[in-house]
Amino acid sequence: MSFRHWVILLPLIAALISCSAASNDKPGKKHTITIAGSTSVMPFTEKLAEHFMVDHKNFIVDVQGGGSTAGIQAVINNTVELGMSSRPLKNEEKRLNTITICYDGIAVVVHPDNPVGDLDLDRIRQIFSGRISNWRELGWVDRRIDAVSREEGSGTRGAFEDLVMKGNEIDDGTMVQDSNGSVKEVVATDPYAIGYISMGLVDKKVKPVAIAHVSPSIKTIKSGRYKLVRPFLYVTNGELDTKSRRFVDYVLSKEGQQILRNEGLVGFYD
């Protein structure tokens, strides 16, 4: 065989090997559960899946992002078994089943160096609608406020609009990022930024702001004093099939809920 033939054949062989690896996997024995949707719910579902697969060796849980809407869409199309949503279903989606797995607080976050530590909902509303645009108005330096929001259609944004904006529009000059992680990253690097993210993602890189003297925490959410809370949902088309039921049962079990609690979320039973 000449060199030319090899040039053509080698990639072919390599590709075949890499693809046929699947068939060596005894597909009959493995159950694959595909989950897609909200990028807010995704990291926690991934954690759950990692733990789940340790105990359930014959299961593969495939977790993908895409956003609440795309996840719900995928459930309707039956391309995934479970959808993840960080917003309540819209009217036309109501025929789907929902399973609340936990509750998540939305934390308003600023840079750790920012001395502003307490705002009320009104102030936050004014910041995001552009009526307050300088940190001096909040008792800090004379510097423009770099507000960061999520993109149109995001579940977190939807919840934030419902819970905080209450009919006021988010200003067009507000920066927009397309995931919790990137909002956090902007706030973590820009000392003059303010944004809102899922409470479970808050760590030492950003500082959560107390809202009317109530800091976001599992305790304040449980007691009902912290108001920026939304449910995390799994969505299915009709009844759960047996393999997905195994996973959902695990998520709602003591062990699963403890994992979510460790991540800073509020359990379904709390």
Partner: protein
């Protein structure tokens, strides 16, 4: 025996026809699909309200993308302001001043720059350019100026390699003729070489613009993606490409159609630029 070769020829021809048709089908599918998904909204909402509309809130029925069109052009022109002089001087240096060995070393090095994935540029922009702008110029750093700086670097390889080709293809006799009349090297370049390579240089700028206007991931990392038309170089902004990439995953119904309309506008702009660069200008060179 004869019949077999004739048969084989026909078979091959039809296989090739099938290949050509399916790849053309593939290619036109994307054109037609984007148009088919994007145009209905223009009819429903109105061309004016989309192209000249100031408000983008697709879940509430506003589909104005005027600010993004303006922002796309702003970053593109900004990138050109940074990239064009640098790129052109680099091309002039390479074609007129550099020795053969320098050229052999620099040309591929610059072409390698074109191969570095745009996300890497975006990432370095976020890590180095954005804080620099924030600390020394003010604002959040996610801004027009940061975006232009990064895009300006990203379009350098395009500008350099295409204008280099244009400069090199200027006939030697022009240079010799000019030198024979006592012109210095710079006078020759300025008065003879650049004018005769003008079309190629212009094409390189336009193709560079095409690359800048089409860039997506690097831009959403750096631009801040605010919906307003920026009023200063430190304001954040959202481009047409950024709009699609940010909202695609979440969009349904009219919102999704709105993104396709954004895509249609983007496609039209790019095609006009390509047409100018490839057909308008190349034809001039041919003359």
């Amino acid at each position: 025996m004869i019949d077999r070769t004739v048969l084989k020829e026909h078979l091959v021809k039809w296989v090739l026809v099938a290949f050509a048709l399916s790849s053309l089908l593939f290619l036109f599918l994307i054109f037609i699909f984007i148009l088919a998904e994007g145009l209905p909204l223009f009819l429903k909402v109105g061309l004016n309200k989309i192209i000249f509309g100031m408000k983008w809130a697709p879940t509430k029925g506003h589909f104005g993308i005027f600010p993004m069109i303006i922002s796309s052009f702003l970053v593109t022109i900004g990138a050109l302001i940074i990239g064009a002089p640098l790129g052109l001087s680099c091309a002039i240096y390479l074609s007129e001043y550099a020795g053969k060995r320098t050229r052999m070393l620099l040309k591929p090095a610059i072409e390698l720059l074109a191969g570095i994935p745009s996300v890497v540029f975006g990432f370095l922009g976020v890590i180095y350019i954005v804080p620099l702008v924030r600390n020394y110029l003010g604002g959040s750093g996610f801004s027009l100026i940061s975006t232009c700086l990064v895009l300006g670097v990203m379009i350098l390889p395009t500008i350099i390699s295409i204008s280099f080709d244009a400069l090199v293809s200027v006939p030697r006799t022009y240079r010799e003729g000019s030198a024979a009349m006592g012109a210095t090297k710079w006078q020759t370049i300025y008065k003879v070489i650049i004018p005769s390579a003008k079309s190629g240089i212009l094409a390189s700028f336009i193709l560079g613009m095409g690359r800048a206007i089409g860039e997506t991931m690097a831009v959403i990392m750096i631009a801040g993606n605010a919906l307003k038309i920026p009023t200063g170089i430190l304001d954040p902004l959202r481009t047409l490409t950024g709009n699609i990439a940010l909202e695609l995953a979440y969009a349904t119904g009219d919102h999704r159609l709105g993104l396709f309309s954004t895509g249609v506008v983007l496609m039209v702009i790019i095609m006009i630029l390509n047409y100018i660069a490839n057909f308008g200008i190349k034809r001039k060179i041919a003359k």
